[in-house]
């Protein structure tokens, strides 16, 4: 089902963007992990003793610090931007420009095109997060060897983040397959993931906005549940399910729709 020729061309056209985002994401992870200073947190903990902030710093570990920074903001927004740009260019932009006509004027099935392009997006994300995870793990070993880190939790944070991105890429890819115009594909394929991100961010800022948690898919990547050992498998399952359903839906809509080529 995957066409090697198309995959090669897609890789050639998209590799630069992928490299840039992978590099940025990896560097962010490395910096975040390496700047963590256990003693500084303890010092601050002493300073705020007796104030309302005491509880907050008292329980701060390396992973909980990462969970509220990298796994809440940087590690989420950068891959989202990458997904938005790539998903649109994989299908909708080519239909909009008309260059899809050249692929379809060869004996290539529409389903082959979708499967090939979707595979590229998924593989690109898998490799991106593998590199990020490995780099984070090595940084942990090199800079934080004296800090007690639960490696299993660290891995689960990364797997959860990947599953969230898999589901988000499903949204962007679906609208790229559905829409004939780039602007429409971007309106939904970028608008929805960005709205989810903002809702999640706002809901964590203030208690009055916590209701927004129920309107964002990002809440299914529950870092607190992972670190506190609660049951989070059902959330992972839902994210995986959303992604799979959306990719299958992309295939169905693209096979059935009229192409303005």
């Amino acid at each position: 089902m995957i066409n090697g020729t198309i995959f090669k061309q897609t890789l050639r056209a998209n590799i630069k963007l992928w490299l840039i985002f992978t590099l940025v994401l990896t560097l962010l992870q490395v910096v975040m992990v390496s700047v963590f200073d256990d003693r500084m947190i303890t010092d601050i903990g002493h300073m705020v003793e007796g104030t309302p902030l005491a509880g907050f710093f008292g329980q701060t570990t390396l992973l909980s610090m990462l969970a509220s920074t990298f796994y809440a903001i940087h590690g989420v927004i950068f891959p989202i931007i990458y997904i938005i740009m790539t998903a649109n260019s994989l299908i909708a932009a080519q239909v909009d420009r008309g260059s899809m006509a050249y692929l379809l004027s060869t004996p290539t099935k529409r389903s082959t095109i979708i499967v090939t392009q979707a595979s590229y997006l998924i593989i690109a994300l898998v490799v991106m997060f593998c590199i990020e995870t490995v780099a984070g793990f090595i940084t942990l070993q090199v800079f934080q060897s004296d800090v007690d880190v639960v490696i299993a939790d660290f891995m689960m944070l990364n797997i959860g983040l990947f599953l969230l991105m898999f589901a988000i890429s499903g949204i962007s890819f679906f609208f790229s397959s559905l829409c004939n115009l780039s602007k429409n594909s971007l309106a939904f394929g970028a608008g929805i993931p960005l709205a989810f991100f903002l809702f999640q961010l706002l809901s964590s800022v203030d208690d009055s906005l916590e209701v927004l948690r129920y309107f964002t898919m990002n809440a299914l990547f529950d870092t607190a549940a992972i670190l506190e050992g609660e049951n989070y498998w059902w959330q992972f399952g839902i994210l995986l399910g959303i992604g799979i359903v959306l990719y299958i839906a992309s295939l169905v809509v693209f096979k059935r729709k009229d192409l303005p080529l």
């Binding site: 066409n3 090697g4 020729t5 198309i6 061309q9 050639r12 056209a13 080519q94 420009r97 008309g98 260059s99 006509a101 050249y102 692929l103 379809l104 004027s105 060869t106 004996p107 290539t108 099935k109 529409r110 059935r256 009229d258 192409l259 303005p260 080529l261």
Partner: protein, 309 residues
Amino acid sequence: MTIISLQHVTKDYGHGRGIFDVSFHVKKGTVYGFLGPNGAGKTTAIRHIMGFSKPQQGIVTVSGLNSWNNASTIQETLGYLPGEVALPEHLTGEQFIQMMMDLRKIKDDTHCKKLMDFFELDASGKVKRMSLGMKRKLAIVTAFMHDPDILVLDEPTSGLDPIMQQRFIDFIKDEKRRGKTILLSSHIFTEVDATCDEISIIKEGHIISSFNKQELLNMTEKVFHLTVENTKDYTQLIQMIESDITFQLISKNEQINELQISCYPSDLSKLIKRIADFPLLSFSEVPFSLEKHFMEFYDRRVGGELPWQ
């Protein structure tokens, strides 16, 4: 044998755009001209042949296969030249040609090389940097590299210089000699005139006329331009023409004793016999131009009656 067939195909895009109850058939080995102004529905019809769009009503077949359900099988023996050039811009011309060869699973590039030489295509540079004409040539070469039996051409000569336009017309004629079935959409009269056997005119989504060019030529009045030696004979000739309903006087210019006469091909020998008695300085046929004929249709209302029917 019918290769491309549209039967009562309707696709309504709203606001009067689309195609409505369009039917036509392209027989094997013929060149079919699909003529109409911009926005008339030519590209919409071609989209259905290519299987890019699903008809709301009617059926489209290519070589007997439903073009919506069997699009990828049909492409094996079909070459499509899109009306708008939109090539993947991150590639060089050569990379694009290689990609298309791989997608078409072509191993032997002799036919491709031949086409590149014929159209003088230089594919070494980046597609992004190519001129419109060069992109067009690249599209032509990749559309026909697999030597398809069916050619679907959407306004093929737009963007080509006059020399290349002529070369493209030669190419179509040559392909026709090799037994290819060709559908050519155009709004340029000369290329349709030069290549097509059968012609359909489409306007506002409706086919308003379909005819065979040769039959049309046989059924249309011929026009002759005459110059008479002196005024006396000129006046006599005018009188003779005006008194005979077989002939029509189209125009006259008394100062220089010129006139134009028209008659049907069946009355040609009669005309020649009649004018043989007059001292003429010149006698020439005004070449028939489809253009004049088409123009009548462009102005005519949809579904208007045809003058020769």
